[in-house]
Amino acid sequence: MSTTLLTVAPSPHIHQELTVPQIMRGVIYAMLPALALSVYVFGIGAVNVTVIAIVSCAFFEYLICTYLLKTKSSVADGSAIITGMLLAFNVPSNLPWYIVVIGSAVAIGIGKMSFGGLGNNPFNPALVGRVFLLISFPVQMTSWPEPVASWSIDGATGATPLGLLKDGLRVGDTVPAIMNEMPSNVDFLLGFQGGSLGEMSGVALILGLIYMLYRKIITWHIPISMVVTIFILTGLFWLINPEKYADPVFHILTGGVLLGAIFMATDYVTSPFTHKGMLIFGVGIGIITVLIRLFGAYPEGVSFAILIMNAFVPLINRYTKPRRFGNKPVTNG
């Protein structure tokens, strides 16, 4: 009789290496370039907001797990940290600390744990927190510091390019006239636009996308379908009336499109299962975003679009079930 007991378990006896904590860590790594640039641009404010958001998200998750649900704390899987980071990415860098804490409490408490924790929430928790803040603290949430590379604490505040566009259109300016006063698309791509922490630089976000695709954490379906939809729709309107509608590249590079497409819409829990479902999901987000931006009251609509489509995920899953092997549909011969 050997001293060590043999292990017996049902097959399979091997497992692929990418586990949930590793995936969460991968997402965090993917967010780092954008965070770094943000710190460079917005200075100490960005650091403050991010740290407060992460710490308070983790803290609330720990509290709720330990004292309310009485289960093992799930902070270690890293999902609360991602929620915190995403929440920080979605708010201005000069947001007062208590608002950040309130946002974290809502994101974790209402957005995630009230449904039963990781894997059970229908809506993206960070976006729940963000939208809650946007409605509760509209002034603080829409006054963004100017993107000047400085570590000075009291920078001037201003509006986002999308906000400027909306305001300009409201007072009757034409798009080219407004555009003249704004930086070029190349600047937007590199990251010098006013706005929330994480949505300033297209390049940094795309770097994150490439990393996540390489690690096979996400697939291309959601980001590409969403961005392409926005490009096509805004492009159509732009072709129809360039005086009234901005060009598609402007729409993609400004606001939260890239951040939303790469980090928010691709959240496993709140996106459809199958690739087909993911494409429908991305297209839906794109359409709603464009509708809000062009015809809605808010200058920006990515958060709302994602939350609305989150609600449709169960329905999408229901209608995009995989085809069973051996049940060929008639159309496929």
């Binding site: 292990t7 949930v20 894997g119």
Partner: protein, 448 residues
């Protein structure tokens, strides 16, 4: 990656995973394992009914002598794999993990039954009629050697009204680590080809395809060369993807036909046999030699000498491990078969059965399952499922004993390939609960 040659090859189109291959023993030629001192021949090694034992304690048996006769059609004969004296006939824990009847034979010498042709010369003439061939295969107790151990003669008896046009020889060996079929194709290609011709004659088909995965280039090349001497046999190299060795997946990959849910390969005009089975068919028909030995791979990351052995049925696993340099330190798990579908053994002293394709020794650091997390609804299991099922959902239905809905969601179509559990980033025991769900659905069906 887009221009990878591998992508242009045929494969199945639904799901699948690609676990690391670890074919450690692919260059180790098949060795004859020395005769053991005793064999324990399990009587029930196949799917169907257990056969009836026809020997008694104290009887002298020869190699190839029948010791248990099949009961009914879906059953199989069992022959003695050694010559000697019959010892205890009792229940032992075999590779199925359960206590089942087995016959102990103490080995005395190596006297073979007179009817068996032990020479090595190749007999290519097939003088038998299809019916006689099936009869001979049945007598020889040949069963599928890929893992399921389905009696081969049943697969060759085509019911009236079904038309078979293609015979598929399964040389895929998609399980990581295993190389038994690979070596057999390299070392006994002619026997396999004649075996294929025999099967073709028995089925009355004039087309046979040997499907081999692209990670066995030498075997593809050799079988391609050899097959030119035999009419109607062609070779197809396939993209490496698990579970291509599954009958349904292989048929889809080679012929583009999908076996309907709940149906058999015969329903789409195909019959699949494993190369190991084909080799045994050759011996059964041309040499009168029953299935008494098979090739078994002994492998594992820490094994001193990963190897392929020609082993008599009933030899203890311990003996194979000894031949490969002994049990490595810190062995945590011993698997009979491959890592994806094999069965973990609770004890080393288990006899090799007709369907044992390999013995895999997994070191301690890889033998335990990792921590389980919540399902994050990533959908990877759905993308990986080769049957187009929703494993995460079936797991919940199985766990909740919701048999009606589970059946509606085609839980019985699951081939238990393990792709879902393999891919799940939360380490959830998806397949465990699907199996559980399947058995409760079957139980509910039986009760009705």
């Amino acid at each position: 990656m887009l221009f990878d040659l591998n992508n242009k090859l045929k494969t199945f189109h639904k799901g699948g995973v690609h676990p690391p291959e670890h074919k450690l023993s692919e260059h180790a030629a098949i060795e004859e394992l020395p005769l053991p001192r005793q064999v324990v021949i399990p009587i029930f090694q196949h799917i169907g009914k257990p056969p009836k034992i026809v020997v008694e304690r104290g009887d002298e048996v020869k190699v190839g002598q029948i010791i248990a006769v099949h009961e009914g059609f879906v059953s199989s004969n069992i022959h003695s794999s050694v010559s000697g004296k019959v010892g205890r006939i009792d229940e032992v824990i075999d590779s199925s993990g359960f206590r089942r009847m087995a016959v102990n034979v103490r080995v005395k010498d190596d006297v073979w039954d007179e009817s068996i042709d032990r020479s090595d010369n190749l007999v290519t003439e097939i003088p038998f009629a299809p019916k006689e061939i099936v009869e001979k295969i049945m007598e020889a107790g040949v069963v599928g050697q890929g893992g399921a151990a389905f009696p081969s003669h049943v697969k060759l008896s085509v019911p009236e009204g079904k038309h078979i046009d293609t015979l598929i020889i399964n040389g895929v060996e998609c399980e990581p680590y295993l190389t038994a079929d690979h070596r057999l194709m390299l070392e006994r290609p002619h026997e396999i080809m004649v075996g294929t011709k025999i099967l073709m004659k028995a089925l009355g088909v004039d087309r046979a395809i040997v499907g081999i995965e692209n990670n066995k280039l030498d075997a593809i090349e050799l079988i391609e060369k050899v097959s030119r001497e035999y009419d109607g046999i062609s070779v197809e190299s396939l993209k490496v993807q698990y579970p291509q060795g599954g009958e349904k997946q292989l048929i889809e990959a080679l012929l583009g036909r999908e076996v309907p849910s709940g149906g058999l390969p015969m329903d789409v005009g195909a019959v699949v046999h494993n190369v190991g089975t084909t080799y045994s068919v050759y011996h059964a028909v041309q040499k009168n030699k029953p299935l008494i030995e098979r090739v078994v791979t002994v492998t594992g990351k820490k094994v001193k000498k990963p190897a392929n052995y020609m082993v008599r049925i009933g030899t203890s696993v311990t003996e194979l491990i000894e031949a490969s340099g002994g049990l490595p330190e810190n062995t945590g798990k011993i698997v009979s078969g491959g890592p994806m579908m094999g069965k973990a053994l609770g004890d080393m002293d288990v006899p090799i059965a007709k369907a044992t394709s390999g013995i895999l020794l997994i070191p301690t650091f890889e033998s335990k399952r990792s921590e389980v997390y919540n399902c994050v609804r990533c959908g990877k299991c759905i993308e990986a499922c080769p049957m187009g099922l929703e494993p995460y959902h079936l797991m919940l239905l199985g766990k909740g004993k919701n048999t009606d809905e589970a059946k509606e969601e085609n839980i019985l179509d699951c081939i238990e390939c393990g792709s879902c559990s393999f891919i799940c980033p939360s380490n959830r025991p998806i397949l465990d609960y699907i199996r559980f769900g399947k058995s409760s659905v079957r139980k509910a069906e039986n009760n009705q």
